[in-house]
């Protein structure tokens, strides 16, 4: 359903991704793992149309995403929740969610989706008249994901959803991510908490210095000695 074929991406003069390929089936959770600066966020931004690739193609349900502007990509059902959360700090929670549903695609089913999001994160309903910047870190992440859901995505890309969150909050967020996935939304996950990422994902790609170096079933990677040393910090056996 979703394919990235040999894309190169540049940050100005700097080449950030080298011939990256990736596939994702409908309803799958796929994790993208790598060190800081390895190009994970760049890949997600390239898919979302913020940094269009110079070569290669990105295909979603047969449509070339790499030829479309970012708002069209949202309209086609691909949504990125970026690392900085992509919320509007000076607007209240409800306005943030409404703008999440700005696309025609999202607006048609705004009320129903809003209901679903409030069900998933009840705190957002209580905080709906509060400015986004006054929310706690966990609440902001919930808002970011909720806002993304209001665009009615078929593919949701999450960049570091656990960044800066307490373990318990991270657990809640990941439970919500699994629930979202169960409603049929495919998920492409970038996550520094490799352990939890490999637990929820079916498959994972490892990216180093802008290149995909390994692609494996998630449970195999959890057992992989090199991965355990490099990303999980486990050195024994």
């Amino acid at each position: 359903m979703f394919e990235v074929n040999h894309i190169d991406v540049y940050y100005g003069e700097l080449k950030a991704l080298w011939g990256v390929s990736l596939t994702l089936d409908k309803g799958e959770i796929v994790a993208l793992i790598g060190a800081n600066g390895s190009g994970k966020s760049t890949l997600l931004e390239a898919i979302a149309g913020l940094l269009p690739p110079t070569t290669g193609e990105i295909l979603f349900e047969g449509v070339r995403l790499d030829k479309e502007p970012s708002h069209r990509i949202v309209e086609l059902g691909v949504c990125l929740v970026p690392e900085d959360r992509g919320t509007f700090p000076g607007m209240n929670v409800l306005e943030n969610l409404e703008l999440g549903a700005f696309s025609k695609r999202g607006r048609k089913e705004k009320e129903e989706t809003l209901h679903v999001v409030y069900g998933l994160f009840p705190i957002l309903k209580n905080r709906r008249n509060q400015l986004a910047r006054t929310l706690s870190g966990g609440e902001q992440q919930m808002l970011a994901i909720g806002k993304g859901l209001l665009s009615r995505p078929k593919l949701l890309m999450l960049d570091e959803p656990s960044l800066g969150l307490a373990p318990l909050v991270t657990k809640n967020i990941f439970e919500a991510i699994c629930q979202i996935n169960q409603t049929g939304v495919s998920i492409l996950l970038v996550e520094q908490n490799v352990h939890i990422a490999l637990k929820v994902a079916k498959r994972a790609y490892i990216i180093e210095n802008g290149r995909i170096v390994q692609h494996e079933q998630a449970k195999n990677l959890l057992e992989d000695k090199r991965v355990r040393q490099a990303y999980l910090g486990i050195h024994s056996t």
Binding site: L99, G106, K147
Partner: protein, 290 residues
């Protein structure tokens, strides 16, 4: 004495409402697009002359003609956005601000020349029959035209406030002002948003131009002084608040009127003095966010 002060206050509000209206358009464009349009006053002048033409050539009442001027300047704004400013919009912030300044300064050099050809260097004014008429209330003189000006300015600013806070499209403008990246990822076509914003800002400038032409003279070189006034008001107000910009305009008008009592012709320095003090002591402005 009380009457004199009250009269000064009223005069200040009459002028301040125009400062506010001129500043609202500048603030809107800068807030959403991060383009400092120093040619704002030039568009304001064009609006004034269009109002003058409508009145002089076709006998259109200046207040009735406001929607026409607004729509016409909106279209002019869109043309200028498409032809000139959209080309710099794609650069990143710093380059964009610099290039847009250069372009706007270029327009500032060209516009007065064109205006001199079209309307000559003579001072013009829009003077319908009722201009100059006034009534007294508790010993304070209220001119009909200035009073209407204030009413029109208040209504427009309130309408802008409601548009930005209550409509879907208005909210998307505010979202774009907050973060282009977040706006793009929400499915907002920010290219479109920029175009409409620029059109709206220019339209507000044009309407302010007509109101100004009703109470002051219209000349081809009036643009830059009005850009400066609007800039002072925007700095005074801080970014991100339409109502704040209008209130700051009123404050500047009142301060100028009061200071004129003892400073006479040096009043013009007051605005610049406020500009400096605000930049030094409170760079985010009176109503701006940190």
């Amino acid at each position: 004495m009380v009457q004199f002060l009250a009269q000064t206050f009223v005069n200040g509000i009459n002028v301040g409402a125009l400062y506010g209206l001129a500043a609202v358009g500048l603030s809107l464009i800068f807030g959403v697009m991060r383009i400092l349009n120093v040619a704002h006053g030039e568009f304001l002048m064009v609006g004034g002359y269009i109002g003058f033409w409508l009145f002089k050539l076709y006998g259109v009442d200046p207040f009735m003609g406001l929607p026409l001027v607004g729509i016409f300047l909106f279209l002019i704004g869109i043309v200028f956005y498409k032809v000139v400013f959209s080309r710099v919009a794609k650069f990143h912030e710093e380059v964009k601000l610099k290039n847009s300044l250069l372009i706007a300064f270029g327009l500032y050099l060209i516009f007065p020349q064109i205006a001199m050809v079209l309307w000559t260097a003579d001072e013009r004014a829009i003077s319908p029959k009722y201009s100059g008429q006034a009534f007294d209330l508790l010993g304070v003189r209220f001119g009909y035209v200035p009073l209407w000006n204030v009413c029109v300015a208040v209504v427009i600013v309130l309408a802008m406030y409601l548009f930005l806070n209550k409509t879907y499209f208005g909210k998307s403008l505010r979202g774009t002002a907050e973060s282009w990246k977040a706006a793009k990822l929400s499915g907002i076509n920010i290219e479109w948003t920029f175009m409409i914003t620029f059109g709206l800002g220019i339209s507000l400038a044009g309407i302010a131009g007509v109101l100004i032409a009703l109470t002051q003279e219209l000349t081809p070189v009036m643009g830059m002084p009005w850009t400066l006034k609007a800039l002072i008001v925007v700095v005074l107000a801080g970014m991100g608040s339409i109502v704040g910009a209008f209130v700051a305009g009123l404050i500047l008008g009142i301060v100028e009127a009061v200071s004129a009592i003892f400073m006479g012709p040096y009043t013009i320095a007051i605005g610049l003095l406020i500009f400096l003090i605000i930049l030094v002591l409170r760079p985010r402005g009176l109503f701006g966010r940190a």
